[in-house]
């Protein structure tokens, strides 16, 4: 049985500053606290996350969130056995602030430092929340990422496919902006879609005609823009119904692509224990229902962690750090923050494949 161990986790790779305390208790890992400060309001006026604004906010928030997480957990710093931190991939200013805060904590406490890949944090969450066993298929779908990962162990990931341009969450934000809806776009578009007719506009299902599990959402967003502009040219603006129909059509197209590619990703994988989803876009009820059906058709359980553990959080980083600790990983105080850090280094790069290598 694994030794009892208490891990402090830090996350600051995008626009959420998170800290969490997690304890290994026999075969289980228990989240003692998991606090997140969102920067949504700071970025609202800019129609997207501004890296410099995000970095500034993280640098002045991380230690405060750590204090809050410790207080909620009823744990004191000397009881922490290791400090786990997101070391990439992500917006480098925020990742750097997190890594430096974690180094300060680890050095001051004299405890090990664990650099965690943010994507591994998401990908391993079903093990934490549902006791899922390896190997399983994970669809990571968020504002910054979209990829299918076959997870064979805490450090064994194989990327089966992913987006070649935008992430779906990013596309939702852009569509919301095109249609005059507030940010973040995911929940706004989903709400508007409820009263819309998904069949009114003929929107594309990008890459469905190609083999493999790669996805694309950039063209879909442009198709929504064209449809909007046609309506504006014809009638001087959009009616609420036009907007609802566009939202419903866009959401249906994304759902078809995610479901279709998921079915394809599950083919030929041999014995899997299940199909799991993570990332903020997994909050969309339509997508959850479609992905659940895909898993059922493949005879597999569908696992969607609770929303607070699907979106960016530090508990997943603490948990991934715990698993790394248990296989003997230790980082020293020269740990680097990495804007690019693909989980599967063997897979061909999808995005950012210039001389700096793949992004994620």
């Amino acid at each position: 049985m694994p030794l009892p161990l208490t891990i402090l986790g830090l996350e600051s790779s995008c626009d959420d500053t998170g800290a969490a305390v997690l304890r290994r208790d026999g075969d289980r890992a228990v989240i003692l606290s998991n606090v997140v400060a969102s920067q949504t309001d700071l970025h609202a006026a800019f129609g997207g996350v501004v890296p410099e604004i995000a970095a500034r906010a993280h640098a002045e928030k991380l230690d405060i969130m750590v204090e809050q997480a410790l207080a909620e957990a009823g744990v004191t710093l000397p009881e922490i056995d290791a400090v786990a931190v997101t070391a990439g991939p992500g917006l480098i200013g925020g990742v750097l602030s997190g890594v430096m805060a974690a180094k300060g904590l680890a050095m001051g406490l004299g405890k090990p430092l664990l650099g965690v890949n943010h994507l591994a944090g998401h990908a391993l969450t079903p093990v934490l929340t549902d006791g899922m066993r390896f190997p399983y298929l994970m669809l990571l779908v968020s504002g910054g990422h979209c990829q299918f990962l076959r997870v064979d162990g805490p450090q064994e990931f194989r990327r089966l496919g992913g987006t070649i341009d935008d992430a779906p969450g990013e596309a939702f934000d852009k569509v919301a902006r095109l249609l005059g809806l507030p940010q973040p776009g995911g929940p706004e578009v989903e709400r508007a879609a409820k009263s819309g007719d998904p069949a009114r506009f003929d929107l594309p299902r990008p890459l469905m005609d190609r083999p493999g599990c790669d996805l694309s959402f950039s063209g879909l967003k442009t198709a929504v823009l064209r449809a909007r502009d046609d309506l504006v040219a014809a009638q001087g603006g959009l009616s609420e119904q036009d907007r609802a129909d566009l939202c419903a059509g866009f959401q249906a197209a994304v759902a078809d692509v995610l479901a279709g590619k998921s079915a394809r990703a599950l083919e030929g994988q041999g014995a899997l224990t299940g199909f799991a989803v993570a990332g903020g876009v997994a909050a969309n009820a339509t997508f959850r229902a479609r992905l659940d059906a895909v898993a059922a058709a493949a005879g597999l359980p569908f696992v969607a962690p609770p929303l607070a553990l699907c979106t960016d959080n530090a508990a997943m980083i603490a948990f991934a750090g715990l698993l790394l600790h248990e296989v003997g990983q230790r980082d020293d105080l020269t740990l680097s923050a990495r804007p690019r850090w693909p989980l599967d280094t063997a897979a061909a790069p999808l995005i950012g494949s210039g001389k700096k290598g793949a992004k994620a």
Binding site: F46, V50, V66, M100, G236
Partner: protein
């Protein structure tokens, strides 16, 4: 040092403490440079200092580069830090002469003149010539001055947590596309 600060900082702290014949547990406070300067660099120092201070249960004290450079100059003194693009970060120190800190274009430094002024820091000779002031050298390494100022301040019960001193807004423009007109029913 340009790249590699994040990798080098903690080992450097360990070396400096060992050279001083002390251990981390001997520290009463941590002084940290908060800029102004390279945004990433000052976030590296401030984030690390705040984490270390939390772990050791001691205060971290933010000290600006302008304050550090002013420490051993005769007052009134004008201190400058290069802000690139022909701009400077300026602060004036002295009884009745306190002004700034602020981001100032090189061609607008004349407004910072005052009687008996000494000027220290980046481009001090040029600034002093414009103002009719006396240029003064400043030490290359500001960390002893940061530590001395931290020593003078760390017992202040109202001490704020150190925060980067940016003096320049984040480079970001509000979204342009406000969305289409929504027609009434």
């Amino acid at each position: 040092m340009g790249k590699g600060q994040a990798e080098r900082l903690m080992p450097l702290i360990a070396e400096v403490i060992a050279d001083g014949g002390r251990t981390l547990e001997d520290l009463d406070a941590i002084g940290v440079g908060i800029g102004p300067g390279n945004f990433t660099g000052i976030r590296i120092s401030v984030s690390a200092a705040r984490g270390l201070a939390l772990a050791l249960g001691i205060p971290a004290v933010g000290v600006s580069m302008l304050e550090a450079r002013a420490l051993d100059t005769p007052h009134p003194s004008l201190v400058s830090v290069d802000a690139r693009r022909d701009h400077l970060y300026l602060q004036r120190f002295g009884p009745g002469a306190d002004l700034g800190p602020d981001l100032v274009a090189m061609n607008a430094v004349a407004a910072w003149a005052c009687p008996g002024l000494s000027v220290t820091g980046d481009r001090a000779e040029e600034i002093a010539a414009v103002l009719g002031a006396t240029p003064m050298p400043c030490p290359d390494n500001p960390t002893p001055a940061i530590a001395r100022l931290a020593a003078a301040r760390f017992r202040d019960p109202a001490l704020p947590r150190p925060a980067p001193l940016y003096l320049r807004a984040a480079d970001a423009a509000p979204a342009r596309d406000g969305g289409p007109m929504i027609l009434p029913r």
